[in-house]
């Protein structure tokens, strides 16, 4: 039998099964959105596929309802763990006013929900990173005990905002976790055209804090390093930069076609590393999850995705004139 690794990390069987549930849920919501897109029902999808382990591992190491998120567009699994529902995600995909992220104003993937401590995000990459630092600064000023998680792709780590924010957080030793999901592509641009350093985590050196690179296909390893980062932050030891090395299993978005720039062999290799079957196998092998449980989870996920889709599709659109609302505070 395989070695039980999650106990050593303080995770119960229920918890790891829940992790598996969230990974699968995120994947299935995503897959459904592609179908809906190809059927002409929603204009756009941007995926978490291949990055669910990294995301769920990270999110489980955080404290829901306490910590803050400044996520990026692939973080569907992170926000699900933090309380966003499949229905919420589908409402966003269908651009319906009940969508808690933006009332259907933004594309899917633009997460945000005050109730869930998720800061509203935009499309220009990396702008959320200084925001995370600002929330952490406020936490420090108000003597609050939480950390801020912010994520971005490796391509986005080349933006000035990453550098400026990391430096600011380093100087003030702020409780921020910079979580870089390195899927080796920025749309079509491969790693070697994006950066010359072999690990994004090394960039932490320039800001005087810890950098860690981790296998993003292993939710438990990710959980471990994020948990450590969180503890460091709460001890006042400042930020951590974590690079989770992952694979993007689909094109950049529903508008992309990756065949011109990515070999099919490479993609096949990446699919072999799919973290979901791998984690399922681990759970079955160590006996944390039974086959029956697995089936039940799959069914539950399927049901939730179905219901979410149906609800969101049927939900009414906002009134056209509602476009004029909320430019400024309304009395």
């Amino acid at each position: 039998m395989a070695e039980n690794r999650h106990k050593a990390l303080g995770l119960t069987d229920e918890q790891v099964v829940e992790m598996y549930y969230y990974m699968l849920l995120a994947r299935k919501v995503d897959e459904r959105q592609w179908l809906l897109n190809r059927a002409g029902k929603i204009p756009f999808v941007i995926s978490c596929q291949g990055q669910e382990a990294a995301q769920v591992g990270a999110a489980f190491a955080l404290k829901k309802g306490v910590d803050y998120l400044c996520p990026y567009y692939r973080d569907a699994a992170v926000v699900l763990v933090f309380g966003m529902t499949p229905r919420d995600l589908m409402l966003s995909a269908f651009a319906k006013p009940e969508d808690p992220n933006s009332g259907g104003r933004q594309m899917p993937g633009h997460f945000g929900c005050k109730r869930l401590n998720i800061l509203t995000g935009s499309s220009p990459v990396t702008t959320q990173v200084p925001h995370a630092v600002g929330i952490a600064l406020a936490a420090k000023m108000q003597r609050k005990n939480f950390v801020v998680y912010t994520s971005f792709g490796e391509g986005s780590s080349n933006q000035g905002d990453f550098h400026e924010a990391a430096n600011f957080a380093g100087v003030h030793k702020l409780p921020v976790i910079f979580f870089c999901q390195n899927n080796k592509y920025a749309i079509s641009v491969p790693l070697k055209k994006q950066l010359a350093v072999d690990s994004v985590a090394k960039r932490a050196v320039g800001y005087g804090f810890t950098g860690v690179s981790v296998d993003g296909n292993d939710p438990l390893e990710v959980y471990r390093v994020v948990k450590e980062a969180r503890e460091r932050a709460l001890r006042g030891e400042g930020p951590t930069l974590i690079e989770a090395v992952v694979n993007r299993l689909v094109p950049h978005s529903s508008d992309d076609d990756d065949r011109t720039y990515r070999s099919r062999e490479e993609l096949e290799e990446a699919k072999k590393q799919d973290p979901i079957p791998r984690f399922r196998q681990y759970l079955l092998e160590v006996g944390a999850m039974t086959e029956a449980q697995e089936k039940e989870i799959a069914q539950r996920v399927q049901r939730e995705v179905d219901e979410a889709t149906e609800y969101a599709e049927k939900a009414p659109y906002a009134e056209p004139e509602s476009a004029l609302k909320y430019v400024y505070a309304e009395k």
Binding site: R105, P124, K193, L195, T260, Y317, V327
Partner: protein
């Protein structure tokens, strides 16, 4: 003459200029094997290689800043900003650097770069893939801002921009890319930057527009013509510095002016057009200077009814033109 699409005109202009002049190269995100997310640079990497078709790291300030350095040295870079909504990180390099190099060095250095950026909505792009950002740059001496509406103008003006000795911002309306087709000569030609173009001659009202909205104006003018109303339609083409002469002449010609653009109304380029007219040919006017523009909200939402609410269309323009004609 062959009929090609608006985006094909972009690609043709780039390819021909790269063939003509070794110093011309393109750089930007995904411009290489991907041929750009809209495919404007499709095939260029095969013909010109990785060195002249550079997939840059994801960093707009560097894209423009590096292009500026190369241009100052003597190259002719054409930088692509993937969406105009992402030009903001490069504003410092564009406004404080590119636009001021010649002036601040007392004509010792100059900066012949072109920055292409797809702008505008109607493509389910939501708040951050639909923006009109012209207004940001329409008060920057040293810069030229071009926004063509037809394949013919695209090709002639993009070539002119590349050959221009000063920095040119070249805004391409992304909804026009595949929607708008038109005749384009096979011979090499350039069009003058800084000149507006009368796209339709008329007697009763004058309409100023550019980009996608210009096509709504032309369609509406066609409809109005059937009702006996004759519209003079001017394509601004260059948004900065504006072609004051053509603007004043066209306004004075009919005495009734409508300005139409997708960009927000307050602070949009239409305000400057109106101000020029109100300063130079006020007494030739028979009606208030009307503007039909995007509403003053941050940008267009994703939700289809809200996007539609934001966007102009032929009906909305027709209505405004008719009201003005009947004034």
């Amino acid at each position: 003459m062959p009929v090609i699409s608006y985006i094909e005109a972009v690609t043709q202009a780039l390819r021909e200029e790269m063939r003509r002049d070794e110093r011309v190269f393109v750089l930007g995100e995904d411009v290489g094997k991907r041929g750009g997310v809209f495919r404007a640079t499709m095939g260029l990497i095969d013909e010109f290689g990785e060195e002249r078709v550079i997939d840059t790291p994801l960093a707009e300030s560097a894209i423009v800043g590096v292009a500026i350095g190369a241009a100052a040295y003597g190259m002719r870079p054409v930088a692509e900003i993937q969406f105009a909504d992402f030009i903001h990180p490069a504003v410092n390099q564009i406004i404080n650097e590119a636009a001021k190099m010649r002036y601040r060095s007392n004509n010792d250095w100059h900066c012949p770069i072109v920055i292409r950026a797809p702008y505008g909505g109607g493509v389910h792009g939501a708040l951050y893939h639909s923006q009109s950002v012209e207004a940001l740059f329409n008060s920057t001496p040293g810069l030229k801002v071009v926004a063509p509406s037809t394949p013919y103008d695209v090709k002639g003006l993009l070539k002119a921009a590349i050959r221009d000795d000063d920095p040119v911002l070249f805004f391409e309306h992304k909804r026009c890319y595949r929607l708008i087709k038109g005749e384009v000569p096979e011979e090499d030609y350039v069009l003058p930057i800084g000149k507006a173009d009368i796209k339709r001659e008329g007697e009763d009202i004058t309409v100023f527009s550019y980009g996608l909205a210009l096509h709504f104006c032309l369609e509406a003018a066609e409809r109005l013509a059937q009702e006996g109303i004759s519209a003079h339609v001017v394509d601004l083409r260059t948004l900065y510095p504006l072609d004051k002469e053509t603007i004043c002449e066209a306004a004075a010609k009919t005495g009734k002016v409508l300005i139409v653009h997708e960009d927000n109304k307050e602070g949009g380029v239409g305000g400057e057009v109106a101000a020029i007219i109100a300063e130079e040919v006020l007494f030739d006017l028979d009606a208030p200077i009307k503007r039909l523009c995007g509403p003053d909200i941050p940008a267009m939402p994703y939700s289809p009814p809200l996007e539609k609410f934001f966007m102009l269309n032929t009906d909305k323009v027709y209505q405004a033109m008719k009201e003005l004609a009947e004034f």
